[in-house]
Amino acid sequence: MVHDLYQEIILDHSKRPRNCHTMANATGQADGYNPLCGDKLKLFIRIEGDIVKDASFVGSGCAISTASASLMTESLKGKTREEALKMLDKFHELLTTDTAVSQDLGKLVVFCGVRDYPARVKCATLAWHTLKSALTNNAAEPVSTE
């Protein structure tokens, strides 16, 4: 039922998103946009050496995309750039394949219900697409899920 999608953690993070603010001393940022539902997101990261020291976001979106951004920014802290990109791959796999759920993802496994809602995969991955853009380029153009 629909509670498999809207698990407690997701509802909690959508109603009270963590790290939901701008960042004055960010070393990288990127804009994400999901034309399907009009979700907009601005992601900030601060990297020292190779480590993500801080991550935050602002924007408006559905419960899935807001909770995903909130939980993503929590999980990023302390990760290296490479580890962060690896998490993105694993997260994408979690949402789009039937493979066993990887426990490396920690709390992020709550999003596994999304795989039964193909129309909502883009909501869950918006923050992560935006992260990739923030980590890999100087994105002048907003990254789009389309």
């Binding site: 629909v2 809207y6 979106g61 559905c62 419960a63």
Partner: protein, 415 residues
């Protein structure tokens, strides 16, 4: 609450009508399907499905060219739809009705053919604040190419066009006024007759996007005096990929062809081509024959029910739905015009439309969530998206009750 259904004229037997629509009989996620997305596409009755099937099973041949029996049958059936559309729209002549893929192509045909010939630098085109992207982007492209200016009739917070502002926008440089008859995002029925009359007085032409009007209200082209009018077959219970563009004979004759190819010619040599007469001049290539025949069956079905009866029944549904939704705390209707058809667009405080749509879907209720291809409308109301329940004559009062119950469930989850 459902006692209201007894108020409806007994001749409109919705349960009997529903028997004609096979799609409606299914369950979705274990619940009876409640289809409230007819503004996106309407469901099809057996009459339409059977007509398309019959064409492929019995009459399948290319049209207009063959002397053999099958070709004559398919040509007759396809051309019959033009005659049916003439009756449906009260057009003067069936030669003024051009088959297109849908409303979008109808508008693009006008911007490409009429627009490129007639719109010059410094000219102005007027559209409205509530247009679907398909009645914005083609005009924008034309204006960019020609160096013309696109002007927009504003609306009020109920979603009604400001006619005084429209009057001020009209001037001797105005070449075309292109507005929607009924808004897909808000449900507003625009006073198109007045809009057209004002355009004509200013020396401009008028194109009406009839995509959301044709399924729900009587369209009388002779009374409206529109220069162009276009609608999509699939929204009037016909198949996708077929629609009609109406244009006044004089205008169509003066316009260059839209696409070149077979069927739109009289004589071709390498030096020169003489184009076919109306309407074929604008119909290059083998068309969507099955779609055209299916559209004919759809118009027959609609005529048999009677568009006035359809409109009266849908209006009662809409009133019932409006009242029911307004009783839900935190729900705000987007689009509260005095004259409305078919559309209940709404937002709920603190809950994103996409989440509403997903939870409703799991209860078998199909609604549309998003910007409804009308992003400027969303910007005006300062919402990223809305949830839209759109009605058709096969919907019931019970389905509105189901929607209200579904929304209560949404609120339980996200409260």
């Amino acid at each position: 609450m459902s006692t209201l259904s007894s108020v409806v004229a007994p001749s409109f037997d919705v349960e009997k009508i529903r028997e004609d629509f096979p799609v409606l009989k299914q369950k979705v996620h274990g619940k009876p399907l409640v289809y409230l997305d007819s503004a996106a596409t309407a469901q099809k009755p057996f009459a339409v499905i059977d007509a398309i099937r019959r064409f492929h099973e019995v009459d399948c041949a290319n049209i207009h060219r063959g002397v053999h029996e099958l070709s004559q049958r398919s040509t007759a059936a396809y051309e019959e739809t033009r005659a049916k559309a003439k009756h449906f729209l009260n057009a003067r002549s069936k030669d003024e009705l051009i088959f297109v893929r849908g409303t979008t192509e109808g508008i693009n045909l006008v911007t490409s053919s009429w627009g490129r010939k007639n719109v010059k630098e410094g000219d102005e085109i007027i559209i409205s604040a509530m247009e679907h992207h398909s009645n914005i982007v083609p005009w924008q492209m034309l204006c960019q190419e020609a160096g013309a200016r696109l002007r927009v009739i504003p609306m009020n917070e109920r979603g009604e066009l400001l006619m005084e502002e429209y009057a001020k926008l009209l001037n001797p440089r105005t070449r075309m006024v292109a507005v929607t008859h009924v808004s897909n995002a808000l449900g507003t029925i625009n006073p198109v007759r007045e809009i057209i009359e004002m355009a004509h007085k200013a020396g401009a032409l008028a194109l009406i996007d009839g995509a959301q009007a044709a399924p729900h209200i009587k369209v009388d082209l002779q009374a409206l005096d529109a220069d162009f009018y276009t609608f999509s077959g699939h929204k009037v219970i016909g198949p996708t990929g077929i629609g009609i563009l109406y244009g006044k004979t004089k205008l169509l004759n003066a316009m260059p062809p839209y696409q070149g190819g077979g069927d739109m010619i009289k004589v071709v040599t390498f030096e020169k081509t003489t184009y076919a007469d109306l309407p074929y001049k604008f119909e290059a290539g083998t068309p969507n024959i099955a779609g055209g025949i299916g559209l004919g069956a759809a118009l027959d079905y609609t005529n048999a029910l009677g568009i006035e009866k359809i409109a009266a029944y849908e209006h009662k549904l809409l009133e019932y739905g409006t009242e029911a939704l307004l009783q839900i705390p935190g729900l705000k209707l987007i689009g509260t015009a005095k004259e409305k058809a078919s559309v209940l667009s709404f937002v709920i405080e603190g809950i994103h439309p996409h989440d509403i749509g997903t939870v409703l879907d799991r209860q078998g209720i199909a609604v549309r969530t998003g910007h409804h291809c009308a992003q400027p409308v969303m910007d005006f109301f300062n919402v990223p998206a809305t949830t839209r329940a759109s009605l058709a004559f096969y919907n019931t009062f019970g389905e509105i009750d189901a929607l209200v119950g579904g929304i209560k469930k949404v609120k339980e989850i996200f409260s």
